[in-house]
Structure formats: structure tokens, C-alpha cells
């Protein structure tokens, strides 16, 4: 796009380009920060994955050796599967439960807002605070879960110390934390469904289940895709805090997700190149999962009307 000749002294409203001064003023500061602390680190990270470096000596170029090493590293392979497992345990219940809750609480009665607040409350608690809280809830002796189970004569496992149960226990915390966002988005979508559609279905003799299955669910599908991607992103981004505080990847690496292993490699073992290669693998996994859940749509970046 070439700049037009500066012909008219009086600026007209449908000119092709604006004075670069204002664009630079509005975009410039952000662009400088964004480039320095976002774009450069991302590119640098991809580059660093081709080097061997311990932060002190000279970086040594090793080509794709780090990526080859990942395949031979049992802990890396394990952590890839643990990450996928956690995503699965987190995403599926979050989507289903937030849909059901939204349908359930899309109503009104005296005192309703108090109860709606209860459903949304987990959105405020930090991952670290909830990790501390849930460690206590999962306590095998004085925790409420153990206590409730014992009423039925069941003696539950030591959730966070059990290689089978530690990961589901973490995912329950993540689902609890992630439900409010899904509920809010589904509520907004439900309120946009044309009530006439539901009336028409009722006239045709549809029961509650048929309405849910054939009218409500298809109508909120775009939101379901959005929630899938947001939850996926959220779990990949948040899981570090939860796993690092609650289990540190244990017991016996059963919750050793990629984010925890990468942290250990980069900041405890100082194997920065190898850690960067694993970060790149994580990036590829997120991208693939996001594409599976939600094929890209072109953002509407045409000219403003």
C-alpha cells in the first residue's frame, strides 16, 4: 500500500492512509514491548532448541540432536503422555459439566443470584491457593472426602500419593477451577437461543431430553468449540501451578506433565537447549489438539465498514 501524495491540506475522511504519526503513537509502545518480550523470546526459544547450553558456558550448536534425545528419554515420553492424559481428564468433564450446569441454572427464583455466585466462585481462587486447599481436602485422615467415604464403609486411597489416583485428583481440581468460565459462556449462548424454537419443539411433543439433545445442544455448538479450545489452552497453561504445588510431578512421575519436567530441566538442571526443544514439542501438541477441536476460521480482518 503506497502512501498517497499529500495533496489536500484539509484532511478528508475517506483517505487511504492516516498520518503515520498517530498510528505510531497508538501502536508503537505496545509493538516495542511485544516484539522484545514476546516475539523475540518465541523465536529465540525455537532457535535455542538446536543448542546445548547450561547458562554459563558457550552455547554449542547440536542441530536436531535435542529432538532425537527426546525420543530416547523415557521421562520425556512419559511426560508427553501424562500431558495428553491430563488434557483428556480435564477437557471432557469441563465441557459436559459446564453445559449441564448452564442448562440447570438457566432459570430464576427468589435468591437465585446467591446460588449462581456459588457456581461461579471458583473462578476467583488462584491455582496455588486452590492447590493448598485441595491438598488438605484430599488428606487421607482428616479430609472431608475420606470422612464421607468412611460413612459408606469405604476406605479411600491416599489420593495424592497413589500413582493411579494422583492424576484424576489433580484433574478434579482443574475441572472445578475451569467450570465457571464454561458455565458463563454457555449461559450467554443459551440466552441467545430463540424461545420460539423451544416452543415449536414442545408443540411437536419433544420432552426435556429431546429438547436438550436436538434443539439446545446443536444451537450452542459454536460455543462448545470455543470452550474446548479455551479449556485446552487453560489446562496446558495452568497445570504447572497445580501439579508443581500439589505433587511436584510425583508419586513416581505419575503426574510428571511436560510443564513440570520443562521447569525441572530449565531451572534446576540448567539444560536450557533440551528444555526449549521439549517446549517446542508442547507447542506442537497444543496446536495439533487445538486444530482437532477447532479448525481455524479466518478472523474478520477486512476493512471496517
Amino acid at each position: 500500500m503506497a502512501a498517497p501524495p499529500r495533496a489536500t491540506p484539509r484532511r478528508r475522511t475517506n483517505r487511504r492512509t492516516d498520518s503515520p504519526f498517530w498510528a505510531a503513537l497508538f501502536v508503537g509502545p505496545n509493538l516495542v514491548l511485544f516484539t522484545t518480550f514476546m516475539i523475540i523470546p518465541i523465536v529465540w526459544g525455537l532457535g535455542l532448541s538446536l543448542f546445548d547450553w547450561n547458562l554459563i558456558g558457550e552455547p554449542r550448536f547440536v542441530g536436531f540432536a535435542n529432538y532425537v534425545d527426546i525420543l530416547k528419554d523415557a521421562r520425556a515420553v512419559n511426560s508427553v503422555w501424562k500431558t495428553v492424559y491430563l488434557v483428556f481428564l480435564g477437557v471432557v468433564p469441563t465441557v459436559i459439566l459446564s453445559f449441564l450446569i448452564a442448562v440447570l441454572i438457566n432459570t430464576n427464583f427468589p435468591g437465585y443470584t446467591v446460588f449462581r455466585t456459588m457456581y461461579l466462585l471458583p473462578i476467583v481462587i488462584s491455582l496455588v491457593a486452590s492447590a493448598v486447599l485441595w491438598r488438605f481436602i484430599y488428606d487421607p485422615r482428616v479430609g472431608p472426602i475420606a470422612q464421607l467415604l468412611s460413612l459408606f464403609g469405604v476406605s479411600g486411597p491416599n489420593w495424592l500419593q497413589d500413582t493411579t489416583w494422583a492424576m484424576p485428583a489433580l484433574s478434579l481440581v482443574i475441572v472445578w477451577l475451569r467450570l465457571p468460565l464454561g458455565v458463563i459462556l454457555y449461559l450467554a449462548a443459551l440466552q441467545q437461543i430463540n424461545p420460539q424454537l423451544l416452543e415449536a419443539a414442545e408443540i411437536d411433543g419433544a420432552g426435556p431430553w429431546a429438547k436438550l439433545r436436538h434443539v439446545i445442544w446443536p444451537n450452542v455448538m459454536p460455543v462448545t468449540l470455543l470452550i474446548l479450545v479455551l479449556t485446552l489452552r487453560g489446562i496446558i497453561f495452568d497445570s504447572f501451578d497445580i501439579a508443581f504445588v500439589m505433587t511436584k510431578g510425583g508419586p513416581l512421575n505419575s503426574t510428571d506433565i511436560l510443564a513440570v519436567y520443562i521447569y525441572d530441566l530449565a531451572f534446576a538442571q540448567l539444560r536450557l537447549g533440551y528444555a526449549s526443544a521439549l517446549s517446542t514439542v508442547l507447542f506442537v501438541i497444543v496446536t495439533i489438539l487445538a486444530l482437532i477441536f477447532n479448525p481455524p476460521r479466518r478472523p474478520s480482518n477486512g476493512d471496517p465498514v
Binding site: T36, F37, P41, S126, V142, Q147, I184, D241, A266
Partner: protein
Amino acid sequence: MSTSVGHPWRRRLHVSAVIFFGLLMAAPFYWMIINSFKSSREVVAYPPTWWPKEWHFENIEAALGFLDPSAIVNSVIFTAVITIVQLTLVVMTGFALAKMRFFGRGPLLTLFILTMFVPGQVALIPTFILIRNLNWIDTFMGLCIPIIAQTSFGVFIFRQFYISMPNEILDAAKIDGANWGQVFLSIVLPLSGPPIAAYTAVTVLTAWNMYAWPLISTTEKDMRTLPLALAGLGQSFSQTPPNIAMMAVLLSTLPIIIFFILCQRYFINGLGGAIKE
């Protein structure tokens, strides 16, 4: 709007279900609150009690001692700086990308959108090296600037908002000879209340709760933020009694719970509004 029209008993069943599951979602908060007021003996007693025998308000003081005041001050500064600076940047960039016509606008927008899906870990290690080379470890610059720079999501949100703002409003002012700065301050900003409120609410929440970056970019105790102070309490209940740990969690979450209850409308509108396109 209700889905349970019909028999009164169905209505009653529906309301009961709403209440029951609501209480279930809030139950962990109940457990946190009652245990934070128990005595050190009662909190580890078997079987656990569902209501404190006595309310020990002195736990508040003990928990504040564990959290240490510097962590609270740091968290307030960290959250305020990030929210104010980042909001300013994303509102201006979002507006420029929606309404100004300049060279490179399209590619710039694509750049912001593409980086939205890059996981933090990819940039984390190089950002740490960068901050270390700048000698910004254990400084507020190092703590805040890399987080402020995460503007892609906000730029996208505000760009979408301004795209739907009618051009006529802006043109009228421009014909009167106002420049972009004047148009932005006198016309655009006063119309931007709702998205600014929503973005502020979400950013305050995110910054207040952030853990990984403060963990990596600080080493000294005086530079810790609240989540770092809290994380120490979670490792072992043998070092910190659970009642004090629960009180610390409660105290660190309370400001944000109050903030949420007061601004609930903005959260819901802001987050729900993201899909109305």
C-alpha cells in the same frame, strides 16, 4: 426462560437441584473457612468436625505472619501496574488496528492473533535469559514487563469491539478538525466503559493469581508475591498447621472474592460477550 415449566413439583425439584449442586461447588470454600478458624488441635483431630467448636480469630494474625506483609504489598503493586499499563496499551493498539489506516496493519493483526496460542513455556526460558542479561532478576521491571507484554489477547478483544463502533461518530469529529488523539480521548474512551471494565476485571484476577513467572524471576524473599508465599504453605502441613495454612489461603483470596462479588456483572458480561459475534 425457565426450562421447568409445568408441574409445581418439577419446579421444586429443579430449584432443589440448583441449590444442591451450588452448595457442592462452594463446599471447598466452606471447608477452607471453617478450618481456618479451628484450633491447631481440632483441625487435625479425627474424625474431622464440620463446624468449629470455638472460633479462633487469633489465627488471622498467625497467618499474616506466614504470608509476610511484603508479599501482600508486592502483589498489590504487581497487579496494579500490570493492569493499568497493559490496559492502556491494548486499548490504543486495538483501536488503531480497527479504525486507523496505516501501512502494515493487516500483518500486524495476524501477528497478534498467531501468538495467542503459543504456550507460555515456549517464551519462558528465553524471557528468563533476557531478564537475567538485563540484570532485572529480583526487580519490579523484571517481574512486570514480560507480563505486560502479553498483549495479544487484549489487542484482539478491543480490536473486535472497535470494529463494531460506527465510523460516523468518528467522522463527525474529524470533519470538525479534531485529530486522532482528541477523537480517542473525547469520543472513543467514553464509549469504551463496558469492555474496559470487563478486561480490567479479568486482568486483575489473572495478575493477582499468577505464579510461574514470579517464581522464576525472583529469588529474594522480599520480592515474593502472595502465590509464592502461599505455595510454601502447601508443601507440608507438618511445618505449618493446616488451620494457619487455610487462614492464609482465605486471607489471600478474600480481596478477590469481594472484588468478584462487587463486579460480577462485568465478569459475566465481559466473558459472555466474547461469543456474541
